[in-house]
Amino acid sequence: MPLIDPSVVDLSRLQFALTALYHFLFVPLTLGMTFLLAAMETVYVITGKQIYKDMTQFWGKLFAINFAIGVATGLTMEFEFGTNWSMYSHFVGDVFGTPLAIEGLMAFFMESTFIGLMFFGWDRLSRPGHLAVTYLTALGSNLSALWILVANGFMQNPQGASFNPDTMRMEFNSFLKLVFSEDAQAKFVHTSIAGFVTGALFVMGISAFYILRKQHRELAARSFRMAALFGIISSLAVVTLGDALGRLDYLVQPTKIAAIEGLWQDSAANGSAASAPWLLFALPDQAKQTNYAEIGVPYVLDPLIAHSFNTNIPGLISLEQQAGPRIAKGIVALNALQAYGKDHDAAALATFKANESDMGYGFLAQRYAPNQDLNLITPANQGAIIAQAEKDTIPNVPVTFWSFRIMMALGFFFVGLFAFAAFYSLKNQLERHPLLLKLCVWSIPLPILACEFGWITAEAGRQPWSVYGYLPTFQAASSHGLGYMVFSLIGFALLYSAFIAAELYLMFKFARLGPQPHHAAAPEATPAPMFATPAE
């Protein structure tokens, strides 16, 4: 099979990265805001105080703007798998399609239905009924994320499927393994809670803006308090869960964790794994396989990554060398597979089975084989081909290293910000700290930035694979013409930029406008509290 034009592959990657990153500008706010709305409405239902209903409705309006535009940006991505990644869809469609279909048919419909009830059901549903709807909306939006992350977890650490040499694709064999894969689980909690952080900072930041301007004080102070508490626990959780994700990467994606940490040499290269430094700063040089200007904290790397003091964490240079024998076995596997495809020869099948676990590595050699034909690899040229292919087994280190560090630094910044915010809110001293309030306003976009860098860490760090260890990215694309790719890329960029402009315009407009007085003409009678006597 001839290889796809590398420029088309690069453009397909760029297009997917662009649409995914655009889409993810909207997703985290939805994930977090829904549960924050549920918390506000819970207080309304329990205490019966109108202010909490006003809060739920006001923040709900901002949430709705984000949701509507976010959905529009997400729809295209599911189609992109078919249009731009047809080889990928053929190879893993049997497995990958399942969580995507569940997302579309179950979670998304659940979310959309309940969102409708949430916005239009205030006067039609009982208070507990409406509260249940709000919780179901929150659950639905997070379940949507769950299925996408199950699919992505499969790309990071393929579980629940095996390769079928007769159909030449991976086939599903265990739904439970797919859904309960550690990668899917850890990714879901980290991403969902990252959304909680985003939602909390959004509400806290806009509330801080009102407090600074002495507008809507009742609503702003309560919203600030709730968001600060919501945010402090969420930000602590996102850091802890991030550590767990890192450890999982160490267990299943050694090249990714080594790139994240800029680890070229083994951690025990200087005699003791325990003393290996964790790098705060470095300028990784991919070509020379070294770092410049390293600033590190010794004795931290090993316990941080391996949760031990004497485990050697393999560096990128030895991981590259370890890939050599796997590439050699992969070549054998693919040649045997081709032979089996021709005449169903049992011996060829046996050879393939013996080398199957390294099949993906064989694909990496195809790029460098004469005429891109693995059959033309001979003992004479094999060494040079493998040496070239080895270099492709590690991801882009500077990108992975720095995107991880930005995400992580922001994570610790959020813990500090929410801690101060919660502290002064609990002491009712927020107005004495205008600088803190201003910082909250300016920090509103930062969690979204952290999420974007999180995705760059996860996906750039997974390269060269689209499915780790099985299918290289350059084999996964569709064979489009260059013109088509450039045209569609520009189209997407323009369309999505328009969506963002619309979102920003509407958000600024409605946030500046603030909560509108409800039922000004006929004030609603204060409803009876469910469990307590209102003190108003």
Partner: protein, 63 residues
């Protein structure tokens, strides 16, 4: 009668929660942690609001 229904209803929720804890705790510890953690985060945020109201019943009005 209403109280009995509430009691039975909450009993069912408790039984389901225990079942979920046993099953999810074994197969999906992270999912389980997410459920427990999310409920906790929502409740603590809610408690913060109730506390705000209590503080401001006789407070100075400072926020």
């Amino acid at each position: 009668m209403g109280k009995l229904f509430t009691f039975v209803g909450l009993g069912v929720v408790l039984a389901l929660a225990l079942l979920l804890a046993v099953v999810a705790g074994d197969y999906g510890p992270w999912y389980f942690a997410w459920i427990v953690g999310t409920v906790m985060i929502v409740l603590i945020a809610g408690c913060g609001a109730v506390m705000y109201d209590a503080q401001h019943e006789n407070g100075t009005g400072e926020i």
